[in-house]
Amino acid sequence: MFVQLLYLSCGALLMTAVLIVWRRPLTAIVKVLAVQGMALAALAGVLAARGHDAELAAIAAGVLALRGVALPLLLRRALAAGPAATGQSRETRPLVNVAASLLATAALVLLAYAVSGPLTALAPSPAAHAIPVGIAVMLTGFFVLVTRRRALSQLAGFLLMDNGITATGFLTGAGTGLVVELGVSLDVLLAVLVLQVLTSRMREAFGDTDLDELRELHD
């Protein structure tokens, strides 16, 4: 039962990551991110229930509040203030087209399994066997980050990457202590807030948040 629930939440994580690569409308991407945040919270919850770990349960609740609710809400607000109003709510011209992106994601999943051999071998357990999923989500996030041109899509890629890293942290089964967990969450929240404010300033300065417009600075 534990193993099935664990793998179900990991499957949901990977599935939502692929959906983010596949879907173009930014509103859909934000919804998928919220679902992924909930899957991440479920993953932490399952691990907490298994280990009767009150601290991890509290962290799971925090993850649900931050990644399932707060961050998607922030993105939705940024979206409502900007591109949606001008009918530009799609990632129109990613550097890599959707079919090639999906193939690249498949390759990244294979890569994740290839590199995480030593991590699984460190302490073999059902959770450790799912570590490649966390790494794959993180690599997918990095891929989205470097191939998208809209500021908000890049922000979604950053959050995807962060969700993957957090999932890896849970799956390795070694807590880092409450101070560090709190600090990391606070930093992510603040970084996204800062980026959201910068998005609106970019919209003021450039008229739109297509990062191709960012050509003022170069050598």
Binding site: L122, M138, T176, L195, F206, E216
Partner: protein, 494 residues
């Protein structure tokens, strides 16, 4: 007593931020920030004296620890912090007079700079890698709006790139941190991410996991330190940030990120032997030097020129860390201090040049020496310090690193680095001499814009810092003991 001295470098700037927030910015409160900087420097020096010969002190239930390396880094942070904050009032006054800033922007600037200083002090005092990570990411957040302060297209673009690239890089470091934590918990229960316990548990860490995690940590913190694969934010951010902020970012922020690399490198050396990180760091160092050299030769903007010179110096630090051993590491630490003082002064001068000429292009500035002798003198001395001329301390530290490099079997890499450093020095000197020497643009007094303040105000901090840099090159005094015990902390020798 030690606890109070350890808490002071974090709490003083936090209180300073609060005071700036409450009091706003006007003639009297402008000197609040330099006062905080001076207090921080006094606390750092006091801590180093109180700690000399004692085991590392701890505070806040083991959350903070001060060993000689932390003490030294605190001195670097507070010295450059004092330089930058002391130059700020004059700079801000000129900006407000010129209408490019309001009292409100000036107040916000002061608050954010104090928060930035507190985050850096927390990063070097933290007893665990986790808290260091949190504090270093905190510096990104504190400085994001400082980089984008002017709200022009270029400034907003630089701020976006800065936050995006640094957060991504630091996320890689977070993954490395989690993996190292897993390896540590697996090796011995209760090890966690505490620096000292990680060093103690190093022989039991799983080598394969450590290799992945150390690579991620070095590349991740290397992003923040401006090392090559993810350096792209640095020239933009340093070019667009207000001059005192550039001074702080280039002078100490890069070094604080490099401090994390030094600690990680020490642990990696114990687990994996010296070979692995030596190859990684030497590659990053040569790549950084190559990039800096190729982009400095045809550089057209003097603030970006200084930024690429920072990438060069981070490359030199990486080379020193790759060489390893107490002598090279002591030289690396001295290089951090010398570079912080020289680069900080140069950015202060660059900000002043920008205010009196109105352009940041190299060809737009001519004959500075004739019109502003003090400013030109400072800038010239700063560039000489940066390119490694004696008596400045960068000369001593570069010689130390190069000598250790030839002695340690990294001869070819060191020779290549030396050639690249000479190319960079030639490029810097030729760009600077074109700016400083020769005739001004139209020598008739009528072309002198009356709006530009003639007095080279706000330069005394730069003069003092360059003087300190020169004195350090001749006589490091009591700092020598601290330097050597810090280097021994890193090299793992008593």
């Amino acid at each position: 007593m030690t606890t109070a001295l350890m808490l002071a470098p974090i709490t003083v700037p936090l209180l300073g931020a609060l005071a700036c927030l409450v009091a706003g910015w006007h003639r009297a409160t402008a000197w609040l920030a330099p006062a905080c900087g001076a207090l921080m420097l006094a606390a750092a020096a006091g801590l180093a004296c109180a700690q000399a010969g004692h085991p590392p002190g701890a505070a806040l239930d083991g959350l903070l620890r001060a060993d000689p390396l932390s003490d030294f880094m605190l001195i670097v942070i507070s010295a450059v912090g004092l330089l930058a904050t002391a130059a700020t009032p004059a700079w801000l006054r000129n900006e407000v007079t010129a209408g490019r800033a309001t009292a409100r922007t000036a107040a916000r600037h002061s608050v954010l700079v104090q928060l930035f200083l507190a985050a850096m002090a927390a990063a070097v005092l933290a007893a665990s890698l986790g808290v260091t990570w949190v504090a270093i990411e905190g510096t990104t957040i504190a400085t994001a709006f400082l980089v984008g302060q002017r709200r022009t297209k270029a400034a907003v673009e630089a701020a976006w790139k800065y936050v995006m690239i640094c957060s991504t890089g630091i996320a890689l470091a977070l993954l490395g941190l989690l993996l190292l934590n897993a390896a540590a918990v697996h090796a011995a229960a209760g090890t966690g991410l505490d620096w000292a316990r990680l060093v103690a548990a190093a022989p039991h860490l799983d080598p394969a996991v450590t290799r992945i995690s150390v690579t991620l940590l070095i590349v991740g913190f290397g992003t923040k330190a401006g090392l090559v694969p993810l350096h792209a934010w640095l020239p933009d951010a340093h070019g667009q940030a207000p001059a005192p902020v550039s001074a702080l970012m280039s002078g100490v922020l890069l070094s604080v990120a490099f401090y994390a690399i030094l600690r990680v490198n020490a642990i990696a050396g114990l687990v994996l032997g010296p070979g692995f990180t030596r190859a990684l760091l030497a590659t990053l160092a040569v790549a950084s030097l190559l990039l800096a050299a190729s982009l400095l030769i045809g550089q057209r903007d003097y603030k970006r020129m200084l930024a690429y010179s920072s990438i060069e110096h981070m490359g030199v630090l990486a080379l020193g860390a790759a060489i390893g051993g107490p002598l090279a590491l002591a030289a690396v630490l001295l290089h951090m201090l010398g570079h912080g003082l020289a680069k900080g002064s140069l950015f202060v001068c660059a900000g002043r040049v920008l205010q009196v000429t109105g352009t940041s292009r190299i060809e737009g500035v001519r004959g500075l020496a004739g019109r502003f002798p003090l400013l030109a003198g400072c800038a010239g001395a700063g560039v000489l310090a940066l390119t490694g001329f004696p008596p400045f301390s960068i000369f001593a530290s570069e010689i130390g690193i190069v000598r250790a490099g030839f002695a340690s079997g990294l001869g070819w890499v060191t020779a290549l680095a030396l050639v690249l450093m000479l190319v960079i020095a030639a490029a810097l000197l030729s760009h600077t001499s074109r700016m400083l020497l020769g005739d001004g643009p139209g020598d008739s007094p009528a072309t002198d814009r009356p709006a530009a303040p003639r007095q080279a105000s706000g330069l005394s901090p730069a003069v003092v810092a360059l003087g300190a840099c020169a004195v350090l090159g001749l006589y490091a005094g009591p700092l020598t003991i601290l330097l050597h015990s810090a280097a021994h902390t890193l090299a793992g020798t008593p």
